[in-house]
Symmetry: C2
Subunit: 261 residues, 2 copies
């Protein structure tokens, strides 16, 4: 199975993109809703949680791991790769590659949680690939709670998005990476506030494409992934909100189990 974990509900956008790009592959998802959010927590804590989540998914039969959480991808990828001997995918590298293809002026913006932005990982990866690129980042810590509240179209949300994007807009970025799996749900407002001409990179779509490419050149992994079209969802805290968002994002009823890690 393809194992996917996230700090909570945001990773469901990655599940949807993987279901679209790789129909039929069995999926197992773990949402750490008992300890969500990760974005304001320290690296040490996020690393510890990411190792536990990966261990759980492997114990359930996962043969490939997708760290669907940008915060975990930012700070815990090295630790997870070191501790587990199966393919580990994170959501950052593929978004970086796509942003470098999309940009015309090599002026790229990145938005994410406080932990993701503090890690500096997007800037580092972009500059490794293109030392001439200019990267401007903004932490947007209130967007996750606004999305989780379903305040997707309220005037307060528009004002807060505008405030967060202002420093990137004045730098005239031409490409913007949504460095948090919650943000695609605000894509319309973000596009409106940053300007129509700015190319928006949704990391859920780029990671799904990357995994598709990876499987086409990795038959030894491809052949151990089962393909019965099943999807199992585990959460560390069973709340109504998860069910509602899962139904909205995936547009189908889901098989949901509560598990204490």
């Amino acid at each position: 199975m393809i194992g996917i974990f996230d700090s909570g509900i945001g990773g469901l956008t990655v599940v949807r993109a993987i279901m679209d790009a790789l129909p039929g592959y069995d999926i197992i998802y773990f949402g750490d809703t008992a300890r969500t959010p990760y974005g304001n927590k320290s690296s040490d804590t996020v690393i510890q949680y990411s190792l536990q989540n990966t261990d759980f998914l492997i114990s359930q039969g996962a043969k490939l791991i997708v760290m669907a959480c940008n915060t975990a991808s930012s700070v815990a990828t090295d630790a997870v790769k070191k501790n587990f001997n199966i393919p580990i995918h994170e959501v950052i590298s593929s978004a970086v590659k796509q942003s470098l293809k999309a940009t015309r002026k090599s002026i790229i913006g990145v938005i994410g949680t406080r932990a993701t932005i503090s890690s500096g990982i997007y800037e580092r990866k972009i500059k490794e690939a293109n030392p001439e690129a200019k990267v401007f980042s903004a932490a947007c810590p209130l967007l996750v709670p606004l999305v989780e509240e379903g305040w997707l179209k309220k005037p307060e949300t528009r004002m807060i998005v505008k405030k967060y994007l202002h420093p990137l807009k004045v730098k005239q970025i031409d490409t913007l990476i949504l460095g948090c799996t919650h943000y695609p749900l605000l894509k319309a407002i973000i596009q409106h506030k940053i300007g129509k001409k700015v190319h928006i990179i949704d990391s859920s779509i780029s990671v799904a494409e990357e995994i598709n490419n990876f499987l086409s050149v990795s038959p030894e992994t491809e052949k151990v992934l089962s393909r019965n079209g099943t999807a199992k969802f585990f959460v560390s805290d069973l709340t109504q909100q998860f069910k509602i968002t899962a139904a909205e994002v995936l547009r189908r009823p889901i098989d949901l189990t509560h598990i204490r890690l």
Copy 2:
């Protein structure tokens, strides 16, 4: 020692009130910053966390427990009292008593997290004491992240507070319980939006008064509490934000230790 726990930083307002009301008493605080916030999580999960937090404080020498978190107080008080044989104080009963003293028309408003409001505990306790009272409640889930971001005076915060308070304002409440330890930090905006004449009840101050009264009639507890004027702070995740808020709320440097539960 007096043991105090909270889901994170909000309980520091209770620490301050207890230090003011009971100067010299030794305090030990645990902030569950690795799993914060509790307000959108299920009762089962909040109960499990509350039992672990209480166990930790007792292992460190606490002889009296204050559950400084309204969410934990709402859903976990019975479980904590059942499992531990020392005095357990929560932040709800004292705020309810004070609101009943303050109200003239017996029309009382309550604001809190989703978990606190869903529990219906304020309404139940108020009606137990005065079956004629009218109680109107509103969940305000975005106020905790706004406070944690330090957005205490921003226009977006004012708009969101106004939106949340509107249903209570039209009911012409004359008393409003701040049913979350974060909310005293927004007291000025809340007072402005709900109206000058509405009496605001801050649960941190009422619980400190209640403990003061309790100790004056409970010599067996009073004599086992040490009084060297010390305060130790433990957190499950060490973040910069805790240090900043602790310095602001307590107005002195603190002895802070990171502990994994």
